[in-house]
């Protein structure tokens, strides 16, 4: 009846299944986590991928579960994206404290695989895979959040290398990182927008770097501000091609946005609440509310697996990842609000761990649709994918 305009974006999430080879990992990971996280209270596990624990990361690495998709020659397992999905899904469901290795594993390592030199791969990847080297991301600046192309941190050529000046902010665990991969300007001015930007690996122990943790509203020092004052970078600090930073960063963001952590941030809370309902005489009252959230979660999981299949085929589902992140974070944010409404319907005695976990997520959920690209930016990307911009 109507000319159904080709809308590849809304049909991009074709059904996919996790193969048996990926599933094979699951029980081992579960057993490891059940043992390793035995004494981890729920309210800490609720911090999910914001929980920093180097010992945990090292133990995970000892099992070969960091850098899963990186080649074996660099310390990885040479596994596919599906295997990583299974691993990540179990880590998030358990609320494992993965922050120390998360960025290196999720994006810095893959970035170096894609754009780095052989020497860079040999130098950095083994440390990532061993859970020894902590990476952070240098993108936002005090005056450049969503408008990333307006960044002012600058590297100018000096001798064989570069001289770096400027600052970065909202850097997750910058104050505990060994290296930063930063987007900086190397030529032109802000008026040149995306042109003239490059990426560098910065050794956080370099002279001229000072780091200031930022306390968040929940009392955690998770973000940081980093200042670069005439920091010398060697020539081999450049990642990929000078001037191609924008293209590289967008590829990196596709890695960042494609994983199931964009749908599972409130999963520990959801499961705590479900356990509460099972043992509560009022449990059946909230069946509809619970079912609605689970239905959404099940569909989001399908969409996430679909994107994983694209990653496994070495595609770069940039707009699809933005779409999934926007819907995913919407559910992640709704879960604490819904549970709060349910629990406050009857002020019955409630497990203090559940209440503490709920309080944390009710507050921190504001960040879910900010980190890794705000809602408004993502919707602009989707609009472009619909041909409207």
């Amino acid at each position: 009846m109507i000319a159904m305009a080709a809308l590849p974006l809304v049909h991009a999430f074709s059904p996919a299944r996790l193969p048996e080879s990926a599933e094979a990992l699951r029980q081992d990971v579960k057993a490891f986590l059940a043992d390793r996280l035995r004494d981890y209270p729920a309210h800490r596990r609720a911090k999910s991928w914001s929980g920093f624990d180097l010992d945990f990361s090292r133990d995970l690495a000892a099992r070969g579960w960091i850098g899963l998709t990186l080649p074996k020659e660099y310390g990885g397992a040479g596994a596919d994206a599906f295997s990583r999905f299974v691993l990540v899904e179990e880590l998030l469901a358990a609320g494992a404290p993965v922050a120390a290795h998360w960025i290196g594993d999720r994006q810095s390592g893959p970035l170096l695989m894609r754009f780095g030199t052989e020497d860079q791969r040999r130098f950095y990847l083994p440390g990532i895979c061993a859970g020894e080297t902590v990476f952070c991301i240098g993108m936002s600046e005090p005056n450049s959040g969503s408008d990333l192309a307006s960044i002012r941190t600058r590297a100018v050529p000096e001798g064989d290398g570069w001289l770096l000046n400027g600052s970065k902010i909202w850097t997750t665990f910058g104050h505990r990182s060994d290296y930063m991969i930063a987007l900086v300007r190397t030529s032109g001015t802000s008026d040149d927008r995306q042109a003239g930007l490059s990426q560098f690996i910065i050794d956080m122990k370099s002279p001229g770097i000072s780091v200031k943790p930022i306390i968040d509203m929940c009392g955690d020092a998770h973000f940081s501000e980093i200042f670069f004052d005439d920091v010398r970078l060697p020539a081999d600090a450049l990642v990929g091609t000078e001037g191609e930073g924008w293209l590289q960063v967008n590829a990196e963001l596709a890695f960042e946005r494609s994983g199931p952590e964009r749908i599972y941030s409130s999963l520990v809370l959801l499961d705590l609440w479900a356990a509460h309902l099972r043992s509560s005489p009022q449990g059946a009252r909230h069946e509809q509310r619970l079912g609605k959230m689970i239905a959404r979660l099940a569909i989001l999981r399908e969409m996430s697996i679909s994107l994983t299949a694209k990653l496994a085929r070495h595609e770069s589902p940039v707009t699809e990842a933005a779409l999934l992140k926007d819907i995913g974070t919407e559910l992640e944010q709704a879960i604490p609000a819904e549970i709060a409404d349910a629990l406050a319907a009857d002020p019955l005695p409630t497990d203090p761990e559940l209440m503490r976990t709920l309080a944390y997520l009710m507050q921190i959920n504001a960040t879910f649709s900010l980190r890794g690209g705000t809602r408004e930016i993502l919707r602009g990307m989707i609009a472009r994918g619909l041909g409207l911009r």
């Binding site: 009846m1 074709s14 619970l290 239905a295």
Partner: protein, 331 residues
């Protein structure tokens, strides 16, 4: 999805289920031409096993066909008939009942398990189910309802065409899955209309599509539609004829709210013209809103989705989702 099957099917529907055919069917249920062509196409036997003369396709393919039916607002129970024919064939009653068949699950008291009955079309029958008792009965048209559509009613003046027992058949999950697919298809149509509208309609010297507010509204619509399409396919089991009731529950539960929000966003960007009878948009949105109440709203299906979580369960929500979706996993 298999384009070799979906492509020709979509072309057939584009031809048969024209705007005029849809509008003509509304007051009368007249779908004779359309139905004859569908009979001849062979698509109605999609789910009937090959050794019983059908195409032996899997339910997952039917999901794609049903989405196409929704896109084209086909005024006849195409997907329902596919399912009914497969069930009848399994019970030894194949090929005896050509004609449109609605799925009609009933409570123990014989009451249709839907707040609104399916929309009538001429010569249609209902495959009723009360417990393990199934029957094929004739339908007649009721009075045009508040949506200005004709509800089907069982014609109690006519004797049942067939009655039989089937212990492992449950029509209710099929209705949920089929509706999720019809709704996803109609949402595809609404999104397409909306994009066309904002690209063509200009105000303040430029097309609506250049305004950020409009861009964001359409981005949200695209999200809702994308997830609905995933839900539609999710609702149908991949490999076997037996539908997974939990998947079907998730599908209909999920799609209801996105359907409503999609209608709201579409009417928002269309402005007054979208509310006129003359414009195509209302053909989609009236049906989507009526489908929200068909065979269970979110409030109904959500309880079935949650049920496994309220049992003495072990494991995370991921474990439970995997267990529920892979119940019928084939190999």
């Amino acid at each position: 999805m298999d384009d070799a099957i979906l492509g020709p099917f979509a072309d057939l529907l584009a031809d048969l289920s024209s705007e005029q055919a849809i509008r003509n069917a509304e007051p009368s249920g007249d779908t004779a031409v359309l139905w004859t062509a569908l009979e001849q196409s062979g698509f109605l036997d999609a789910l009937v096993a090959e050794d019983m003369g059908g195409a032996g396709l899997t339910p997952a393919i039917v999901a794609g066909l049903a989405i196409k039916c929704g896109e084209h607002l086909v005024p006849a129970p195409v997907a329902e008939t596919m399912v009914a024919r497969a069930i009848l064939a399994q019970c030894g009653l194949g090929e005896q009942f050509p004609g449109p068949i609605m799925l009609w699950p009933q409570s123990a008291e014989g009451v249709l398990r839907s707040q609104v009955s399916p929309i009538f079309c001429q010569n249609s029958m209902a495959l009723t189910q009360t417990g393990s008792q199934l029957a094929l009965v004739k339908l007649r048209a009721g009075e045009r309802d508040g949506f200005n559509l004709l509800p089907a009613r069982i014609d109690h003046d006519e004797a049942a065409l067939a009655t039989f027992e089937a212990t492992d058949t449950d029509l209710m999950p099929w209705t949920g899955a089929i509706l999720a697919a019809y709704m996803a298809g109609a949402m595809n149509g609404v999104l397409a209309l909306s994009i066309e509208h904002v690209n063509n309609r200009a105000q303040f010297g430029r097309p609506l599509s250049k305004f950020q507010a409009i861009q964001h509204n359409l981005a949200v619509m695209a999200e809702l539609v994308a997830s609905a399409n995933v839900a539609a396919i999710f609702g149908f089991t991949a490999d076997t004829l037996t539908i997974n009731p939990w998947r079907a529950a998730v599908a209909k539960c999920h799609v209801n709210e996105p359907a409503g929000r999609t209608c709201a966003l579409a009417h928002a960007v269309h402005g007054a013209i979208g509310v006129s009878e003359e414009h195509k948009l209302q053909l989609f949105t009236r049906r989507l809103k009526r489908w929200q109440m068909s065979f269970g709203s979110e409030s109904f299906w959500s309880r079935q989705v949650a049920a496994p979580w309220l049992l003495p369960a072990q494991g995370t929500s991921v474990d439970l989702i995997r267990r529920q979706t892979e119940e019928y996993h084939n190999g």
